[in-house]
């Protein structure tokens, strides 16, 4: 065995990079299987009502069609709390685009043509698809995602606001946005007796196994979910989506393996999105910018299928020190697709509002916005009253300001362009979830490590190899890492920025156990270790700095440069970390300037349902983007000393852009996206 090197911290290229660029890496839909059939979904063309009749005759008469599935003939499914998965169980239509039938055929082409020939007659009723802050059916949810209280109050924020020297009271709105991962949601399903196997495009195989087992009323041991390579998810693949269930139902009915991939258009209805929000933020402060009150009210939507309550105000509860604080979430169930997780659910839209309001307060107090934030830095977590494991927001603001040239910033003009700069803070919680890993001596002198982690494009396979190599004291080439298979046991999903921390802990402990026993294999579950960790407030922090130019004639906003400065514990791989940060900031830029799922009120669906009409940033939009991080040594996290980095990049970006637009133009745009017509208005 060669001498061990320190792998963690090295800018290792992706261990699966070659397989990906040469097309050898297989995604769910690409898995070769004999005798496969293809399923195509038929979706509702009304937003609310009932199915009267389904006429499958024309579809069934087409060559190659094997079956038409609907509530007329589908098997009864088991219980699950995700009603979006209970396909074909009733004749009720909850939203336009809901899957109401499907065709299974010998080829994808035949399935799709036949799907277009299935005739569905409806009894439609009037639909209600518009979120407003005055909606008569607004209600107070019991909790917000995943299990936070909907409302919190510390002290008397109303009274504090009433007597504050300076008050900011502003309402911000964010548009619904869709995750739009590159790889569409896709599943291959096949049954062997009562054993079900899914090759699925999903962010977590172990959790998916449990959910699928519930839906089909099976013992979880009979279900296996495999996800070797996943082309992004941004939260929308956190749990099985309808195509997972559709493929499995179809496979059972035609007694063949079945592949089902959603179209891009269908992804705008079936797989979740970020709810639109209406947020009122009220800040009270002394003349010298010390916060006395923070109140944050969020209004958001869910569907009539199931409740998803985005935790929009949760970051506000712990961000700044103010003695009197109030946060509230109100929800309305509309005839719309169910919203779900999208990169930094809660923090992302919530911090747009809070960090815009903080910028407005800095203007009102005539203070530099960085200085204002420093003056309101809390000693303890304001909500829980406990220490932070580490909190380096101020360091990020100061170091970022230095690198960005913040002190020299000035609003200026260059021809028809108005130029200005903005800053915003970012935060994202640090979580871990119990995970199980197995490490093994291999006959060739190397090691193998198994864990049901998923690499959704983040580089998880690479960083876990680095972590294992260090734990074993060997070079990375001596470690064979196997992931993406529910048979490996309990594991965190690739979500909540907790993948690496959760899986890495398990990998380290399994490797340690293996070395201690000196032979064979060792399996470890981290449930007890995580339960025993000390009670501290654990968060990653960051600050985004943006310089924009705004066309004085057209209102077009273009970012000249973007800098993100982060405090995320130990960075395990600078190369893949940079990719996560700039990816997050790019998505934040999309949210700030372009991304918007347009609700067609007349028909009740998201109208611009493809990537030609729904604009995500392209290379030309990103001129100069830099991600950097401070050295942060936090011994209260996990064996690697790392914090999650998948989501914090997006969090403050939109507010930094909006604040820069204000600096450049003097116009405060409180609605996202900051379209040119909103700048001109």
């Amino acid at each position: 065995m060669s001498v061990a090197t320190k792998s963690v911290g090295a800018a290792l290229s992706r261990v699966d990079g070659r397989a990906k660029v040469t097309g050898q890496a297989r995604y769910a839909f690409e898995e070769p299987v004999e005798g496969v059939a293809y399923a195509a979904a038929v979706t509702a063309t009304i937003a609310a009502g009932e199915i009267d009749a389904i006429d499958a005759q024309r579809a069934l008469a087409l060559p190659g069609v094997l079956a038409v599935i609907s509530h007329d003939n589908a098997p009864r499914l088991g219980e699950t709390d995700d009603g979006e998965l209970l396909l074909f169980q009733s004749d009720t239509v909850h939203y336009r685009g809901q899957i109401v039938a499907a065709v299974v055929a010998e080829t994808l082409e035949a399935a799709r043509e036949a799907a277009a020939c299935v005739r569905v007659d409806y009894a439609a009723r009037d639909h209600d698809v518009e979120l407003t802050a005055e909606h008569p059916r607004l209600y107070n949810p019991e909790k917000v995602n995943p299990s936070f209280p909907a409302d919190t109050a510390h002290g008397d924020a109303e009274a504090a606001l009433a007597k504050a020297d300076v008050v900011v009271d502003a309402t911000y709105t964010t548009a619904p946005v869709h995750n739009n991962a590159m790889e569409p949601h896709a599943t291959l399903a096949f049954w062997e007796g009562d054993d079900l196997t899914l090759y699925d495009s999903i962010q977590g195989t172990y959790g998916a196994r449990r959910t699928i087992a519930q839906v089909f009323d099976l013992d979880p041991e009979r279900v296996r979910v495999i996800a070797q390579h996943v082309g992004g998810g941004f939260g929308s693949k956190g749990t099985p989506r309808p195509q997972s269930v559709l493929a499995a139902i179809a496979a059972r009915m035609v007694e063949r393996p079945v592949k089902c991939a959603l179209t891009r258009q269908q992804m705008f209805a079936s797989v979740g999105y970020r709810t639109p929000t209406i947020q009122r933020v009220r800040l009270g402060a002394t003349q010298d910018g010390r916060l006395t009150a923070i109140a944050h009210d969020a209004f958001e939507q869910t569907s009539t299928v199931r409740e998803f309550a985005e935790q929009t105000c949760v970051a506000t509860r712990m961000m700044y020190a103010a003695p009197d604080r109030l946060t509230r979430h109100r929800l309305v169930a509309l005839d719309v697709p169910t919203p779900s997780w999208m990169r930094a659910p809660g923090e992302c839209p919530g911090m747009f509002a809070l960090e815009s309001a903080i910028d407005e307060l800095a203007v009102a107090c005539n203070l530099d916005p960085i200085e204002l934030r420093i003056r309101n830095e809390p000693e303890l977590d304001p909500e829980k009253g406990i220490p932070f494991s580490s909190r380096n927001l101020v360091a990020c603001l100061r170091e970022g300001a230095e690198r960005f040239g913040w002190a020299e910033r000035e609003a200026r003009t260059d021809g028809r362009w108005l130029i200005g700069s903005g800053v915003a803070s970012s935060v994202y919680p640090v979580y871990r979830s119990p995970s199980k890993a197995t490490a093994r001596f291999e006959p060739d002198g190397g090691y193998s490590v198994e864990i049901a982690a998923t690499d959704i494009g983040t580089g998880a396979r690479t960083v876990l190899t680095q972590i294992a190599a260090d734990a074993l004291g060997v070079d990375t080439e001596h470690v064979r890492l196997e992931i993406g298979d529910s048979d490996f046991g309990q594991a965190a999903i690739a979500g909540g920025s907790m993948g690496t921390a959760s899986w890495g802990t398990a990998v380290v402990r399994a490797c340690e156990a293996l070395l201690a026993q000196g032979e064979g294999e060792a399996t470890v579950n981290t449930a007890d270790e995580i339960k025993a960790q000390s009670e501290l407030s654990r968060h990653a922090f960051g600050a985004q700095f943006v310089e924009v130019r705004v066309d004085a004639d057209s209102g077009e906003v273009r970012p000249n440069r973007i800098l993100g400065m982060f405090a995320v514990g130990r960075v395990i791989n600078p190369k893949t970390a940079r990719s996560q940060f700039i990816g997050g900031m790019t998505q934040g830029l999309g949210m700030a300037l372009q991304e918007e799922s347009v609700m067609d009120r007349g028909f009740g669906d998201y109208l611009n349902h493809d990537l030609a009409q729904y604009h995500v940033p392209v290379n030309a939009d990103i001129e100069d983007i830099v991600a950097a991080w401070i050295d942060e040594d936090d011994g209260e996290l996990n064996p690697m000393g790392s914090k999650g980095i998948g989501e914090i990049g997006i969090v403050g970006t939109a507010a930094a852009v909006a604040n820069a637009v204000f600096h450049a133009t003097g116009k405060r745009v409180r609605e996202l996206p900051i379209r040119l017509d909103r700048v001109l208005a």
Partner: protein, 322 residues
């Protein structure tokens, strides 16, 4: 997607005969194939005209350019004579689509691309252009990027081409081979306003094959300015192509066309009339913009296009004549 027959046209006459018999011409396929996937276009027979010998860019004896209909957008934008004599055309092409699409898209196909109105592209919804008589949901629905000029109650869609806007300002003509022989159609004039028959984008008949585009007099002093929601790969919210010929401190000739405002590339004749022979001053530019936009009839949610067009038109003329 429905099954269809594909054939490559043997020659232009055979293509025209097939077209008159109901076949659909296929150029680069960058729009038609999308529409086929969406079920918006369901041709039974595709005749590929992209390999016909219309792929040359030739100089005419008068120093103008004749561009074969099958010339790819990328090649046209990069052609040295286009860049030198018709910068507005090169700029418009490069402002459109993406590099990959421009590599495939042909000149003929670019002119005949369909609107990107969301309702037109969604077969589950009505659209008078796709299904005449079914109604136009955009009038009351989502129409932020729809027309402000020349629209009708039957259709408020815009023409998506950047290239066509530049051609309208340059003053080009289209050579067409049809069942009754060759003819020439000027741009503007190829595209039509929606009126009561929005299903017809152009004045062409079945079987009419565009063989070439002939450009008007060289326009070395010209510019294309496109306003859009992202920096690349987005259709115009508004665009302007402008050509000027200054002489003796006055504007001897001015030609202006607007994009993103109408069912056709919109030749701004009222603005031109104000400016022809006038001095190049900000006041005159503003007057010209007002004259053109006085006709604007914005919809509920696209009134912003009027000040946007005014601002950008004034600035573009000022920069071009500076």
């Amino acid at each position: 997607m429905k099954a269809f027959a594909y054939e490559r046209a043997r020659d232009a006459a055979a293509a025209v005969a097939a077209g008159a018999d109901g076949a659909t011409f296929l150029g680069g396929g960058t729009n038609l194939v999308d529409l086929m996937k969406l079920g918006v276009a369901e041709p039974q027979r595709l005749v590929d005209v992209s390999k016909l010998p219309f792929d040359a860019i030739e100089e005419t004896p008068e120093g103008r350019l004749r561009i074969g209909a099958a010339v790819r957008n990328t090649d046209l934008a990069a052609h040295p004579l286009v860049r030198e004599r018709y910068p507005v055309l090169s700029q418009a092409l490069l402002a459109g689509a993406s590099g990959q699409l421009r590599n495939l898209a042909t000149v003929g196909g670019n002119l005949l691309q369909r609107t990107r109105c969301s309702y037109f592209q969604d077969v589950t919804k009505p659209c008078n252009k796709r299904r005449p008589g079914s109604g136009c949901p955009a009038v009351e629905g989502e129409h932020r990027n729809h027309a402000i000029l020349g629209h009708s109650e039957h259709c408020v869609a815009t023409h998506p081409s950047d290239m066509a806007v530049a051609l309208a300002a340059i003053g080009a003509s289209v050579h067409v081979l049809g069942a009754n022989g060759e003819r020439t159609i000027p741009i503007p004039g190829l595209h039509r306003l929606p009126g009561e028959r929005p299903q017809h984008d152009t004045v062409l008949n079945g079987g009419d094959l565009i063989t070439a585009v002939e450009l008007g007099a060289p326009a070395p002093r010209s510019v294309y300015r496109k306003v859009r929601d992202r920096a690349s790969f987005a259709f115009a919210v508004f665009s302007v192509a402008a050509v000027v010929e200054p002489a003796d401190g006055a504007l001897q000739d001015v030609r202006i066309a607007l994009g993103g405002v109408a069912h056709t590339p919109w030749r701004a004749e009222r603005a031109e009339a104000v400016l022809r022979g006038a001095e190049a001053t900000p006041e005159r530019f503003a007057e010209a913009a007002e004259a053109e936009l006085a006709e604007a009839r914005p919809l509920r949610d696209n009134a912003f296009k009027v000040p946007l067009a005014r601002n950008v038109l004034i600035r573009t003329l000022a920069e071009l004549t500076a």
